[in-house]
């Protein structure tokens, strides 16, 4: 019997090593371990053994059984791996086929730029003030030290509704509204839509957008203005950006300046974008005119302030190399998708 068992073990080992499929495996399991299997048949003959032999043979039979079982399991594992390998080989896809995208919409370039500007100033503790676009002449001109009949009004061809109401030509009107209602310290930017009677062409639009800034408190200096604009320019146009102030005239600031930034394309060496100047004008700025403060009930002997403003369209056009302002208002999907 011992011999029989050993033969079964040898035979099983031999067969199992040659297994090719899970069907083979199953038939081997039945052949050796099934109810009518070879091992079972041998064990049936155990009744004829002596009580001395029985535990020894029993032990041996168990060993053989667990050996075969182990072999079967091993075979199954190998087969499984082989089958998986085979399946993986057939499951080939072209990974360069475009993915399933959920197309997200795009922010308009004007929003991109004005959001960036807002982010810079909000992080510096500025609030964002808004005001009406259809505005009183008083807030757009009068309170900003531009009385009726003043030639400075010509520089901004204004749309009028009637003698007192107009479409604001600058968001400075918001500054007045805030200063009338709030005591310093004041630190705000006022982004918004403004209107001037310019015909539509590649560099003009009768509707455009500005962001203006205002700071009023005790002891505000022109140095603070320079420092603030320098920081702003670096945040918006890059760490190495320099600024340059040129004296200019605005009715509501004194001293006043136009502010250039070093060209974002060539860094100041001179190129096509900056017309070989190395500088690009982007801002108007200055110290708030004492008359403007007084018009808002703020004592100009105690308080001072600075103000600045920039055009969003021009900044966006510079940033994205857009050569025609009309593109910003046509809203061609092929344009919008690029941002």
């Amino acid at each position: 019997m011992k011999e029989q068992l050993n033969n079964i073990r040898l035979e099983a080992e031999k067969c199992l090593n040659e297994v090719k499929s899970s069907a083979d495996l199953e038939s081997l399991r039945l052949r050796f371990l099934g109810k009518k299997g070879e091992l079972t048949a041998v064990l049936r003959g155990m009744g004829g053994l002596t009580s001395d032999e029985r535990p020894i043979i029993g032990q041996l039979a168990n060993d053989v059984r667990s050996f075969i079982e182990g072999k079967l399991e091993e075979g199954a594992k190998i087969l499984q791996n082989k089958e998986q390998e085979l399946r993986l080989k057939t499951e080939y896809i072209d990974v360069t086929i475009p993915g399933k995208r959920r197309f997200i919409g795009k922010k308009h370039p004007l929003t991109i730029v004005s959001d960036e500007i807002k982010d810079v100033f909000v992080s510096l503790g500025y609030e964002i003030a808004e005001g009406p676009e259809v505005e009183l002449d008083y807030y757009n001109f009068e309170a900003l030290n531009i009385p009726a009949g003043h030639p400075a009004r010509d520089a901004q061809d204004t749309f009028y509704i009637n003698d007192e109401i107009l479409l604001r030509s600058q968001t400075s009107s918001v500054q007045i509204r805030v200063m009338e209602n709030k005591k310093p310290p004041i630190k705000l930017i006022s982004p918004g839509r403004v209107y001037r009677s310019d015909s539509v062409d590649a560099t003009h639009s009768p509707v455009f957008h500005q962001v203006e800034g205002l700071v009023v408190d005790k002891g505000i200096t022109m140095g603070d203005l320079v420092g603030t604009l320098q920081l702003f320019a670096r945040r918006l146009f890059g760490e190495d950006t320099k600024i340059r102030l040129r004296p200019h005239h605005f009715q509501f600031t004194e001293p006043s300046a136009e502010v250039d930034v070093s060209c974002w394309t060539c860094g100041g060496k001179g190129c096509r974008v900056c017309k070989n100047e190395g500088w690009i004008e982007i801002l108007g700025a200055g110290m708030v005119h004492p008359k403007v403060l007084e018009n808002c009930g703020i004592d100009s002997k105690v308080y001072s302030g600075f103000a600045f403003g920039l055009g969003v369209e021009r900044t966006a056009m510079g940033r994205f190399n857009i050569d025609d302002m009309r593109l910003l208002f046509e809203n061609d999907m092929r344009f919008l998708r690029q941002f």
Partner: protein
Amino acid sequence: MKLPLKWLKDYTDIKVSPKEYADALTMSGSKVEGYEKLGEEIDKVVVGRILTIEKHPDADRLLVTQVDVGNETIQIVTGATNIKVDDLIPVALDGSSLPGGMKIKKGKLRAVESNGMMCSIAELGVTKDDFPNAAEDGIFILEGNLTPGTDIKEVLGLNDTVIEFEITSNRPDCFSILGLARESAATFKTDFIKPEIQVKEEGDSVDGQATVQIEDSELCYRYAGRIVKDVRIEPSPGWMQERLKASGVRPVNNIVDITNYVMLEYGQPMHAFDLENLNGHKIVVRRAKNGEKMKTLDGQDRDLDASMLVIADAQRAAAVAGVMGGENSEITADTKTILFESATFNGISVRLTAKKLGMRTEASGRFEKGLDPENVLDAINRAAQLVEKLGAGVVCKGVIDCYPVKAAKKTIEFNPARINALLGSDVSAEEMKSIFARLEIEVNEAEGTVIAPTFRPDLECEADLAEEVARFYGYNRIKPTLLEGKATTIGGLTYEQKIKQLIGRTLQACGLSEIYTYSFTSPKVFDRINLPKDSELRGTVVISNPLGEDYSIMRTTTLPDMLQVLATNYNRRVEEARLFEMSYVYLPKSLPLTELPYEKPVLTLGMYGDVDFYDLSGAVEELMSKLGIKEYSLEPVHDNPSFHPGRTAKLIVNGKEAGILGEVHPSVSEKFEAAQRNYVGMIDIEPLVGNAVLKPEYKPLPKYPAVTRDIAMLVDEGVLVKEIERVITEKAGKILEEIKLFDVYKGKQVPEGKKSVAYSIAFRAADRTLTDEEAGKAMEKIVKGLSEKLGAQLR
């Protein structure tokens, strides 16, 4: 303002290159737009004298000439027809260049050598305006006594550099050569030498020859006159013409040129009347009478009114003050006696008059900025001096000077410490004083004040002085600081601003791109969107001076603008567009407008392409979810004429209508030439802000499993899904967790007029595992309710 550098150098010694000059002036506050080296492109072009002219042996239309060009005689073949022997002509020599980059080389014309080219005015880049006697076609025959070989640039007055300034409206003094010379001298710390004016006055006294009377001293501050007799009208000399041309002024005759020359040099516009044509030899500065008429120098008849100031004689208006002279007193070739006018007027009045008459002139542009009455005499004396220099006439003795109220000089407090405090600088008092001295600002140290010169109306307060200091100290030497310890504020976005930002982000995530459209539009758009004639939206804020009808009213609806953008894209063959805009509509509170309109913020959505109503409503639902707005619904709208009667809904937020969305009515889409099907939504932003819940409250995750049941039913076609859901919600009770619509079907196996609707309904209890029995009971109630209330049959 154009500044010829040669003219400038009469009054201050500037030695730097044009580029350095331009940069320095820009940085001290006189912005240079650019500069032009006159005749820069012309090289090796000289004066030639024609010695002989012969026919070309082989060509009928060509001539062979010998030309003296100074150091040699050269042969030139030409096709010119207007030349004769002894003519002086411009000759482009071998190797020369002309404007536009043309290069001239010697060569042969029909086998005959030609060693240069005779030039026309066009080839030299000048025009008939500059040289009225020159031939339009043909060779430019030069006038005057010129030596062959002379560089043509000298003859044409093209050997100068002209700087172009952008002068701001607050600096009328800089609209003059002298004003810019003063600024230049202050910038380069050179001496500023004013012209020396001496008038011989060889004629008799002005007394009794003419009178001046100012009737309205509010509008005319000073009026000075000088008389010149025995006037000889002729062209002015070359040097004067050159300077005028370089400054962009066309020479006319000696008298007109003198007035223009003085205007450019002193910034003081002048006028010359034919004294014999002034009735009563009288000047009366008065307001025009309503209905008074006058023909101005440009030949136009002008209707005047009492708001306008005129220069009149004893009977009639002879000039519109500060704007333009009249034809009736114009100087002509026969004029013998002239009256020069040098005056100052109220700037605002001149500006309004010029605007009303629609004739902004060089003079009015200067007067409107407010000129210095103290400049009047210098200017008129300079004119007299030039008359004598040019031999244009005999200047009478004396000036008739009517100057009712002497211009007051402004005294301004001067406190160096406060100026430094404003600038954040550390400029010494000494440096400030030296800057002021160069600008002719007098310092009174004892009083702690300065006195501003009368030509600087812009200097009014200490801040103005600070600017003077800063621009000559150097704006860019001011040390940048960052508000250390000052203006400490928290700042940030308001709640509304945050919501708007969130709306934008959410819609972008939903695949919609942002657009910007104009806020004014045409009144015609209302008909195009089928808006009823009596709609309130037709009451608009109207622009009184629009760019055209298309931009003449402030919009009260954004539908046309969105449709226009969709149409533009469609017509450019863009397959699909999904767009949104956050903007305003402008709703008048009263008409005519007596107060500012209500600027209502609106969100506009628009789509076409592979989309349907549910893409649009889906974006809205996603937005509501993101904003945490639960109390909202969509209800069908059948009667909005802009929209499809069966595919349109109004948005109800918290019980109130907050917008409309749907398929645009095909007749409207057609009018915009847009795609066949367009989907547009217009939603008020304020109710979204008011109802948004930005801080969602956390609910614990379920501990017990849910039981899900599916149900399919047949209902009448007209039954809204929303009504079915209302019944389910009502009947299911507390254990209802979620209703999910998974199928709506019409067609095969569904009877006509019915539709099949299928739901998956989930039940769950928070505190225990729900039994099948409980779910079953709820389902029974639901089925019963649906059958009773909506006549639904289970499938």
